[in-house]
Amino acid sequence: MADALYKKPILFAIVAAVVILIGTAVTMFIPMLTPEMHPKLANLKPYTALQLAGKDIYQREGCNNCHTQTVRPLKTEVMRYGEYSKAGEFAYDRPFLWGSKRTGPDLARIGGKYPDQWHEIHFDNPQAMYAESNMPAYGWLKQNKLDPSDIEAHMKANDFPYTRDELAQLKDKTELDALIAYLQVIGTAVTKAK
């Protein structure tokens, strides 16, 4: 019987699939069906059109390659970045943007940490602010205007509420405005609660 397995490719593939799917079911499929995997903080708001546009740019530029968005519940990490991350903060993030490498600092509590103008100066020339920073400059995002029709499609795909006025205002905004608006909202559902 056992020997037959190595002579029957279809049977072999089916057995292999079942073996592979056990761990998949226990650690991935079944948890997905439980509310534990879909928490949402009471004061977490969907992204506005401008914030979503900023989040799209964050993803397009691959910011998550160098910046994490999750503060671990470790003493020095909370001291450095702020309140540790809660499961219910990320319900509107498709996908999650926790990242896996901190070439730059964690951004889970960047929202409200600095004024908008700080970010403008920093994006323009990170080395002017921190001589030893290795971050690329992103001042060029100022030259790109937002496209409201694209952003509308993105809002719809996420099922986020928006108004005509809100979309109409976008056409005067730049990609840098959007990115900063996004950074300023990251992690604020927790800090506001305090």
């Binding site: 998949t24 650690t27 290795n134």
Partner: protein, 466 residues
């Protein structure tokens, strides 16, 4: 000799293509390694670190890795089934479609079309292309194996079959997304759940792209090039089933101390520790195989590639479970230790084993011998030294980063700002680039050797005809 023809052209096409994409990926790797210590080498919008890094990872995982897997698997399958591919024209189409897809993948990533899931960055139209590529591969794999002329399926075929099934499931599930235009989509899964799906995929991409198909190569080409039979068939059975069973439980070790439920993290860590056993099953099997005659390390130039390759696989599969432990993860997670770990696997195990397999295949296809064993030896030492400089440097700097981030003054305040820690990394990042340069030079020796072997084969054929 035989009444049928193997589809050597397709195999050769995949090998040459994968080497080409490998060069692209490695050169971009060098570039981004310099960007780490020289930010002026970022040229927006297309050539910033954030965009190039994904071209590097995808180019090497999909271009070099999957390209080599397609070609070398076809080669192995034909030999082990004693017949040509069931659908040779489909395989030829597969080759062209593969190259078009990888080209579009690279361009789309440079353009910033990025789903932001690691190793699943390609946007949805290209995801569909990847699935089609995989289906074409699966049709030939299954078709050829079903119609085989050799009753027993050898170990390598088990690994190829498992790869075919697992990658299909992993890739399709993690790439389910809500399209918002032709070049943008949002993950079907959100927040914590999205993280869990992504790392179930991400870790098993390592398991079923950088492990199982490479083990298929190892189990085929090690006995072929040394003439020594695999030490234990029973051990290979146990190692195979426990490996494919345990891998799928382990993704959450990438999410230690995140808001993912603790029980999933703990289960992931526990299975990661277990995974040492099946991984070392193959390592031990490899060692004992050559253990019957260690002189092969000197007399057969390929043996050392396979033995060093499986050694790095063995080191990886101890290092990985170690860094999954909470006590270690809290120190080294998010640091340069992580790319150090990955590169020992990709530069030490995957590239070493795939390159040795190509050294075996190309002379066979051209009915000749390798152009220069001496150049192969130079290649071996350069990639070995380059990789070790890379990995060891990144381990040191990773531990240093983790320790400095945690360092406190006597009054309990943090000792270093973030950028102060960045500044301390520069010497190590420069050292990493040096390791990368040495590795790249080694790969150029490899490519030259392969090219000259092909030329030698062609010349000999022309002479024989004349």
């Amino acid at each position: 000799m035989s009444d049928y023809q193997y589809d050597n052209q397709t195999v050769k096409g995949f090998i040459v293509s994968s080497i080409f994409w490998g060069v692209v990926g490695i050169v971009i790797g060098l570039w981004i390694s310099v960007q780490m210590w020289m930010p002026s080498l970022n040229f927006p919008p297309y050539f910033t670190f954030g965009r190039l890094r994904v071209v590097h990872t995808n180019g090497l995982a999909f271009g070099l890795g999957i390209g080599a897997i397609f070609g070398i698997s076809y080669y192995i399958i034909m030999r082990l089934t004693k017949r040509p591919l069931l659908f040779p024209k489909l395989a030829r189409f597969h080759l062209w479609f593969f190259n078009v897809a990888i080209l579009l993948a690279a361009l789309s990533l440079l353009a910033g079309m990025n789903q932001s899931n690691e190793y699943a960055e390609l946007e949805w139209p290209l995801d569909i292309a990847v699935v089609i590529l995989w289906v074409i591969f699966a049709v030939n794999v299954f078709g050829t194996i079903i119609k085989r002329k050799e009753e027993q399926m050898y170990i390598s075929l088990w690994y190829i079959l498992a790869t075919t099934v697992a990658v299909a499931v992993l890739y399709i599930v993690n790439n389910l997304s809500i399209p918002a235009g032709w070049n943008k989509s949002y993950h079907l899964f959100a927040g914590v759940n999205s993280a869990n799906v992504e790392w179930w995929y991400g870790h098993n991409a390592v398991g079923f792209i950088f492990t199982t198909p490479i083990l298929a190569m190892f189990y085929y080409f090690l006995p072929k090039s040394t003439g020594l039979p695999i030490y234990s068939h029973r051990l290979s059975i146990i190692a195979f089933w426990s490996l494919v069973f345990a891998y799928l439980w382990t993704g959450a070790h990438h999410l230690v101390y995140t808001p993912l439920p603790d029980w999933i993290q703990t289960l992931g860590i526990a299975f990661t520790i277990f995974l040492i056993a099946p991984s070392w099953g193959s390592v031990v099997n490899g060692y004992y195989t050559v253990g019957n005659d260690w002189s092969k390390m000197q007399t057969n130039y390929l043996t050392k590639f396979f033995i060093l390759g499986i050694t790095f696989y063995g080191l990886q599969t101890v290092q990985g479970p170690t860094q999954g432990l909470r006590v270690v993860s809290q120190l080294i997670h998010f640091t340069d230790w992580v790319p150090g770990h990955v590169h020992m696997g990709t530069m030490g195990w995957v590239t070493m084993t795939a390159a040795a397999s190509m050294y075996y295949i190309i002379p066979k296809i051209y009915n000749t011998s390798i152009y220069s064993e001496k150049i192969a030896n130079i290649h071996f030492w350069l990639v070995l030294i380059g990789q070790l400089i890379f990995s060891i440097t990144m381990w040191i700097t990773g531990i240093m980063q983790g320790a400095l981030w945690k360092a406190t003054n006597p009054d309990g305040s943090l000792k270093y700002t973030f950028v102060e820690v960045v500044a301390k990394n520069y010497p190590f990042w420069k050292m990493r680039t040096l390791g990368g340069v040495i590795f790249t030079v080694g790969m150029l020796f490899f490519i030259y050797n392969i090219y000259m072997t092909m030329r030698k084969g062609k010349l000999e054929l022309a002479e024989a005809k004349a």
